[in-house]
Symmetry: C3
Subunit: 173 residues, 3 copies
């Protein structure tokens, strides 16, 4: 693998912070073959519109794969030194895991194990969801706990971590 490139990058930010755009630019700057891994499933029209808007924004430079659940397996099989994989986004993956009633602790352990074995660089995009008021319902509290825990675990082994606000970056690591 090209040792000048970071293996794992994490791009965090709030809703409509410009984090996806930033991550896409980060991927394209590597000049590797860009692969877009969407964790989204189009449940409704609002979501469909978002996904299709994102695809139009990216253009057809990108190979695109959709995988709501088996992210670890896909990364393991698809990562290559000559590819840059962009996963957008992890919070949706966590949502999918919860809706599919997976064992989240198990899933996260497998995922972090996988990150140590990847054969090429990956950029992860994820939503910061923990800086508002404590949510009323237990499911939402569990979700933001899982998201926060996952961000910490990835950040600990990531080569670089960015926080995006209003389209502007802060380098956290």
């Amino acid at each position: 693998m090209n040792n000048n490139l970071p293996n794992i990058s994490l791009v965090l930010g709030g809703a409509r912070s410009g984090k996806s755009q930033f991550a896409e630019n980060l991927a394209l700057k590597t000049e590797l073959d860009p692969y877009y891994f969407a964790t989204s499933q189009a449940y409704d029209t609002e979501m469909k519109d978002r996904i299709s808007k994102h695809q139009i924004d990216r253009g057809d430079l990108w190979a695109t794969l959709e995988e709501p659940l088996e992210l670890s397996t896909l990364l393991l099989s698809e990562a290559r030194p000559e590819r840059i994989i962009l996963v957008d986004c992890l919070t949706l993956w966590v949502t999918n895991l919860m809706m599919a009633e997976k064992d989240i602790v198990d899933e996260f352990r497998d995922f972090i194990d996988t990150l140590h074995k990847l054969n090429g660089p990956v950029i992860f995009v994820s939503n910061e969801v923990g800086q508002g008021i404590v949510p009323d319902n237990a499911m939402a509290r569990a979700f933001r706990d899982y998201a926060g825990r996952l961000h910490q675990d990835i950040a600990a082994i990531a080569d670089d971590v960015y926080f995006i606000t209003a389209g502007l970056q802060q380098r956290l690591k």
Copy 2:
């Protein structure tokens, strides 16, 4: 216009982060004539108390104008090289536009056009609202999408952007 002064500044922060106070100090440091543009409308007692507390905090150094909707028009007519205009806050303006059922995309395009034509410096204050859990209702989701989009658009052309936490500043741009 005084070329040593930034034309457009954006001050972001959460609720009670000290962003208004920071923006007011920023305005006063310019030593230009301070103009305060409030986007707030006093719907209820809670809001009235907030507005009057803010006015007392600012003192009578400031000229004050209130405009819930026609912000672009007002900025175009009132910006002057010898004035510093403080707009507090943009998220309330977005709320007002939504309640008045305006075409937000149109309004934002006019607004960004206006920012390119201003005849004097402006400081915008706005709330970061996108770093909590995804809101349950579609209106709130639309609101935070609009707010985030607006912040990105202004930040892209602003001379400086600050994020305020616990009264302390981080310079984002």
Copy 3:
């Protein structure tokens, strides 16, 4: 008091940001006797699990005291030059004050007065709760206003202030 140590530190962060872990490391690095002041009351099983998980994480290096309300009194009597006190967390203290229907303004004034008189260093952990959408109910709005105001007041007199995201620190002061 050892003048090489900060007297007051404030560690802010969202839910599951790693702020408690960061603060504990900060405390242990001082090599003073670590005292853990919990503001939590175990109302329910979810909370009990969290508290007991935190205690197991910390190990038995720490002396632990629980005080949901009389934080100022406890700090005044327990701070010593040879001790490092970690208060986790302030947002829970604010919640406790509101539930006990205390006069929050009075409590905060006493608290800030107390901070000027302490006989040893203290690290405060608190949740950033103001960067999401405006909460629907007045109680939650009041809570995040109080939390934000308290953070500002402490940050103004703190020797250092950190913001933690995904386990990574940003120094705000």
